[in-house]
């Protein structure tokens, strides 16, 4: 936080040479942000992260997956609880992510209410959840990460050609915004747990990539939602005229 404050006030006073309007209010705001983030992280570390990480390891444990049965060769579909957990945890952490909330508030204001705060957050959360679940599937099957990334890029580029122009920049932003304070530790723990317990995976090499997919898929889902609502609006227009 200190370097950020230095940069802001340095440029403001040395380069722009203008006093900051409402300086008191802005400083209070900064203080609230620091305090709030401090509480937020402290609470996450006390409550959610240890339990979430423990669960990630327990759910990926072969003993849990085979249950009472004797040891057998596991297939990718035996990990269904893992995929479900990956989807659910990623969805719920995306909803709780403060950076996403910040961008959603801004987008709502800029679009004069056309983009609802909750609509954007849910669209992003669905994308993030699908990305994390797919990332879990990738680690279980051991397929190379770059296939998924390159296929995802091509898909995004095709979508971009058809999506409404207004949404494109916001959609591209929503990827990086999702993977932040709450999501990264839990999703990374899940990836590490999977790469440690799935036979034949190396945690150092295969444990990565969950974040990348969690980051890519919100772009797809936000573009898709925009296309869907445009198509719906177009149809409603046709019917009314």
């Amino acid at each position: 936080m200190l370097p950020i404050a230095l940069i802001i006030f340095g440029f403001q006073y040395l380069i722009l040479r203008k006093p900051i309007p409402n300086l008191k209010k802005i400083l209070t705001g900064f203080l609230l942000v620091i305090l709030g983030l401090g509480f937020f992280l402290e609470g996450l570390q006390a409550a959610l992260f240890p339990l979430g990480k423990l669960m990630a390891f327990q759910l990926t444990d072969p003993h849990f997956i085979t249950g009472e049965e004797a040891y057998r060769e596991l297939q990718w579909w035996d990990y269904y609880w893992v995929y479900l957990f990956a989807f659910a945890i990623s969805f719920s952490t995306a909803i709780a992510e403060p950076s996403l909330l910040a961008v959603a508030i801004k987008a709502n204001k800029v679009s004069a209410g056309a983009i609802s705060v909750w609509g954007l957050r849910i669209a992003v959360a669905i994308g993030a959840a699908s990305g994390t679940a797919l990332g879990a599937y990738r680690i279980v099957t051991g397929t190379p990460l770059y296939w998924y990334i390159i296929a995802g890029y091509i898909f995004v580029l095709i979508q971009t050609m058809f999506a409404p122009r207004m949404i494109i920049a916001l959609a591209y932003d929503s990827g990086g915004v999702t993977t932040s304070t709450v999501t990264v530790p839990l999703v990374a723990a899940l990836g590490l747990g999977l790469a440690t317990t799935v036979p034949g995976r190396n945690p150092l090499l295969d444990g990565f990539g969950m974040i990348a997919l969690t980051c890519l898929f919100p772009i797809v889902s936000v573009l898709a939602f925009a296309q869907l609502s445009e198509w719906k609006a177009g149809r409603a227009n046709k019917n009314s005229t």
Partner: protein
Amino acid sequence: MESLKAISSALFDSLRDLLPILVVIGFFQLVVLQQPIPNFGEIAIGFALVVIGLTLFVQGLNMGLFPIGECMAYAFATKGNVFWLLCFAFALGFGTTIAEPALIAVAREAASVAAEGGMIAHTAESLKSYAQGLRYTVAISVGIAIMIGVFRIVMGWPIQYLIVVGYTGVVIMTVFAPAEIIGIAYDSGGVTTSTITVPLVTALGVGLASSIKGRNPMVDGFGLIAFASLTPMIFVMGYGMLV
């Protein structure tokens, strides 16, 4: 009375935002894993802290981070000095990334991967210098990303052209980069954009786009974060090839 009402409604909003996590963790712990919740009291206190923290953060966002970002964007736009604006963009990207805790953690992990893969020696010193080099690489790449993004807003270029170039860069680098670094490189893109950077940078972009004539804040204002999560992938793979 009014302010009490406002505070309780803000707290309620935060609680609603965090409820899904509680439901997911509770369901998996009690129903799927069939285990009791450990240290219930500690978790309840932690959760209360999270709710209060999120509430304060959102208040501070509207009071401090958004206004200062916009105010500076207007000041730069009226001054019309693109050089200093770009310097500011670079400093903001670099400064917010270099101290990012998530990045420090990823850089450390990346160093142990590199040592495992035999790219660097397995000593504490070489691990440390590798991790530090990686952090500077990512911070510089984010600085450049915000700079390019701001320049795009000033010029009014459509974002998709630059994204296509970026994606192509990632794909080309993937072909040449050592296999061990690829996963880390892809992840580093998502890790870098922190909770303080995002609101500041978003306010800067939207503020610039609304104060420069002929720019639309919705079409041109967003997209800075997109660059900040794209360039680290390219730079980290480059770092993996050079070191």
